[in-house]
């Protein structure tokens, strides 16, 4: 019955029905891995620097979903690294470096002494790998323009984020290290998360910024029904947000929805055994809520609150978008900031120090 009404080109409910049905079908026919592989390889083939860039920029234009994390993280980074002459920011995210121009500008204009910035970007998704060359050229050019001494490294040889090692990052003694994880930790296999966080600590960073989407596909991973419900809850929010932010016949919106469809297949229809990763390819996609990440991070780090200045910056950012977006600050036990859409928390941003 669902099959008749569902359509990836209809309204929100129809789209969700269509993609979830696809995932269920994959699960029921035990073809999840294969389907996921096909979907991702096709997506990679049809992406180019221009299309990826256009997509991200358009999304940032119509929705603060990603820019929220950028502004909060940049604010925390700048404050924690203030006064340091040599900065090394390790960026583990797939945002195509759209976060960094504002930071570079801030570095250039804030002090008399512009620090030297080394940016190491870790990418794993094949889609992003192919465009990094273009991006590195642009970043270097921009830094020259800003007058910021700049060094840009890309670590792209990894199949999975879990393979990242301390050595590969090339941290040097006198650098002030910052680690920026946007939508990154969820890509780690659940069992590896603790280990990688420990590895971060061993780098001796001055600040770690973590931004994640607020959903729990991780604690429910052995309970299909609950996981399904949580997926549905989260993606319903996300799709509705997309629907209200983009024009109805937007191709960019379609691309983002398709990205979700791949994640949905990955979470619901693929097994999560570590050994399977090499055959599945791609990343885990099992998100956790802010409170869950906090529990993990608290084992080796302590939270930094966001200063009033940063909070003001975020509020100013949200004003630039349509109504419906708000900032929620933490209650007693919570850390970080939440971006809310129609009063539901959707994105969590936090900052940590050793």
């Amino acid at each position: 019955m669902l099959n008749e009404l569902a359509s990836p080109y209809g309204d929100c409910d129809q789209k969700l029905a269509s993609y979830f049905l696809q995932a269920l079908f994959c699960k029921a026919t035990e073809s999840g891995q294969r389907c996921y592989k096909t979907l991702t390889s096709v997506a990679e083939k049809s992406h180019s620097f221009d299309s990826a860039r256009k997509l991200i920029l358009k999304f940032q234009e119509v929705s603060p979903w990603t820019t929220f994390g950028h502004v909060a993280a940049n604010g925390a980074l700048l404050e924690a690294l203030d006064g340091e002459p040599k900065l090394h920011i390790i960026d583990i995210s797939n945002t195509l470096c759209t976060q960094w121009p504002t930071l570079l500008e801030a570095l250039a204009t804030r002090n008399d002494d512009t620090p030297h910035l080394k940016l190491t970007v870790v990418v794993t998704a094949n889609i992003v790998r192919s465009v990094m060359k273009e991006i590195s050229q642009r970043m270097e050019k921009f830094a020259r323009l800003m007058g910021v001494p700049f060094e840009f490294n890309v670590i792209s040889g990894l199949n999975r984020l879990g393979e990242l090692t301390k050595e590969a990052l090339g941290v040097v003694e006198d650098e002030a290290v910052a680690i920026n994880c946007i939508g990154a930790l969820r890509r780690l296999a659940v069992e590896e998360r603790g280990g990688v966080i420990q590895m971060f600590q061993s780098l001796g960073p001055k600040v770690v910024t973590v931004v994640e989407e607020e959903a729990d596909f991780s604690s429910t991973r052995y309970d299909f029904v609950r996981c399904f419900e949580e997926c549905l809850r989260f993606y319903t929010l996300y799709f509705e947000m997309l629907d209200e932010s983009f024009a109805p016949t937007s191709n960019e919106k379609l691309m983002l929805e398709r990205e979700c469809s791949r994640s949905i297949v990955r979470v619901l229809a693929c097994d999560d055994e570590l050994e399977d990763y090499s055959s599945t390819g791609g990343e885990c996609e099992r998100r956790e809520r802010g409170s869950q990440w906090s529990d993990r991070l608290k084992e080796v780090f302590s939270p930094i609150g966001f200063s009033d200045d940063v909070v003001d910056d975020v509020k100013a950012l949200l004003k630039r978008y349509r109504a419906g977006w708000a900032l929620a600050q933490p209650h007693q036990d919570e850390t970080g900031l939440y971006l809310t859409w129609k009063e539901e928390a959707v994105v969590w941003a936090s900052a940590w120090k050793p």
Binding site: N3, E4, S7, Y9, Q22, T38
Partner: protein, 510 residues
């Protein structure tokens, strides 16, 4: 959502009354002989632009090659080239260059042929865009479009031989690559066909398949379609003309509409009937459809309209399929002249079993049956339906694409809620009726074959009506109107999409 009362459409047009002196006021380049009605008349229309880079022509060429490559089937060859086949019996415009199939040599390298003609057509295409005077580019079937369609065809073959795993894989690819918002019509068509086939694969696997329609959405998109495309009005006005002629000098009339929907057709006819010189007849209408609630609403609207015209009117809703009712449900009355009207579509199965429908026609023996058919076969095996509908809907998408912008939400609604629904239905397991029951290929042939019916050639007045409608819809030079064999056909470029015909009962003199 237009839920208000009806407006009289084309109030300024005089619907032509039979046997009156022609007071036609239509600006057209067509010259009509007014004395007699020639049966085989080719209408010269403005479409003489032999654009070779249209999606539908590509599809035809590529599918021809595909069919040729397949091992011979025991069933009859696909009848997808209905327009070309009809070229035998009626003369189509531009038929000497197009109607003739390609030489066998061309099949071996269809891609080369296509690319060459694409380049040739380039100059003309630019000219066309300038003519339109807007930013609308004519749909160009590019590399991407070609590879998508080829993959789609391979997928259809996989489905037809039950290789669902392979089909599913290909569909995953297709659904990621093709966007229904694309500028290229080819891509849009592929997006929807791929989705329809995905549904089918899932249904095959599930083992069950039942159609579910949201009628309100369908009717809404139907109205949107009516506003941008002449096909529906063509059906309405040519049929109305035939009915009007059949009702000449009759004062008690009864119309049965097999799928009345919102009854958009009837206000125009009522207006003419109400203002007839011999006075308005008493009109009874039996409206059939799927939902009693919607039928009652339609009935109310029509009654109000008739009242405003001062015409006496009765409405009977029957929420059943025509082929599933008994003649007693129709309540025939003595002295009434009966007209049965049927505008066929593929959105859902409106009438039920075909043989029962035919039998009921015979029992009713109406004075006129007005039939408008899609030039598309609902019967046959999957691959036949696939090829036929790919050609048909590519043409339909082309016609929309020539007029509407790529990001027009109306266009999206029509393509998604109306055309896609039809595609999905046709490709579904068991065909549109979901019963696997064989549907007639051509109702016209069935009626002709039956001893009970005689064809009434569509009059020149009907033709005039059609021409007037075309004048209202740009780009008029894309649509092709053909009269032949007593029927009227409206299509896009050289593919006929709808055929209107009229029939009378050989025994009827009600």
């Amino acid at each position: 959502m237009m839920k208000g009362g009806f407006e009289v459409v084309h109030a300024t047009l005089d619907m032509i009354q039979p046997h009156h002196e022609p007071l036609w006021d239509f600006a057209s380049s067509v010259a009509f002989p007014t004395s007699s009605i020639p049966i085989r008349q080719t209408v010269e229309n403005r479409c003489v632009n032999l654009e070779r880079n249209e999606l539908s022509e590509w599809v035809e060429q590529v599918t021809k090659q595909l069919i040729d490559d397949l091992p011979p089937e025991p069933e009859t060859r696909p009848d997808h080239s209905s327009s070309l086949q009809d070229a035998d019996t009626s003369t189509m415009i531009c038929d000497d260059s197009f109607g003739a199939p390609l030489l066998p040599g061309d099949f071996s390298r269809p891609r080369k042929t296509i690319r060459r003609s694409f380049l040739d057509g380039n100059g003309e295409e630019l000219q066309w865009s300038n003519e339109l005077g807007t930013e609308n580019k004519l749909t160009r079937v590019d590399e991407q479009g070609l590879s998508l369609i080829t993959l789609l065809l391979e997928c259809a073959v996989a489905i037809s031989v039950d290789n669902l795993g392979e089909a599913h894989r290909m569909l995953l690819e297709l659904t990621q690559m093709a966007s229904p918002y694309a500028a290229s019509c080819a891509e849009r068509v592929v997006a929807y066909f791929a989705k329809a086939m995905s549904s089918r694969v899932i249904n095959s696997w599930l083992g069950i398949c039942s159609p579910l329609i949201n009628y309100k959405t369908v009717h809404c998109s139907f109205q949107a379609f009516n506003n941008v495309s002449p096909f529906i009005k063509f059906a309405h006005f040519t049929s109305n003309q035939a009915i009007l002629e059949a009702f000449h000098r009759r004062d008690r009339v009864h119309i049965i509409d097999l799928d009345i929907m919102q009854g958009l057709q009837w206000p125009a006819l009522f207006h003419i009937l109400a203002t007839r010189i011999e006075g308005a007849p008493h009109v009874r209408m039996t409206g059939m459809g799927s939902s009693m609630e919607l039928l009652v609403e339609t009935g109310k609207q029509l009654s109000n309209f008739a009242k405003r015209l001062g015409m006496s009117f009765e409405f009977h809703p029957i929420a059943k399929k025509f082929g599933e009712i008994d003649i007693s449900m129709i309540q025939l009355r003595r002295g009434e002249t009966l007209a049965v009207h049927w505008l066929q579509h593929s959105l859902y199965d409106a009438t039920g079993p075909d043989w029962k429908t035919l039998r009921l026609f015979e029992q009713l023996a109406p004075r006129v049956i007005t039939l408008v058919e899609q030039d598309l076969s609902h019967g046959g095996v999957f691959l036949d339906r696939f090829v036929g509908s790919l050609h048909y809907y590519s043409t339909m998408f082309d016609s929309l694409g020539a007029y509407l912008l790529a990001d027009d939400p109306n266009r999206h609604r029509i393509e998604h809620c109306l055309l896609y629904r039809e595609i999905n239905n046709i490709l579904a397991i068991g065909g549109p009726a979901r019963s696997g029951e064989d549907k007639f290929k051509h109702w016209r042939s069935e009626l002709a074959r039956s001893n009970c019916f005689v064809q009434l050639p569509m009059s020149s007045n009907s033709m005039a009506q059609a021409q007037l409608i075309l004048n209202m819809f740009p780009p008029a030079h894309g649509y092709s109107l053909v009269q032949g064999d007593g029927t009227l056909k409206l299509g896009w470029k050289d593919t006929s999409l709808f055929t209107a015909s009229a029939w009378t009962s050989s025994h009827a003199f009600r």
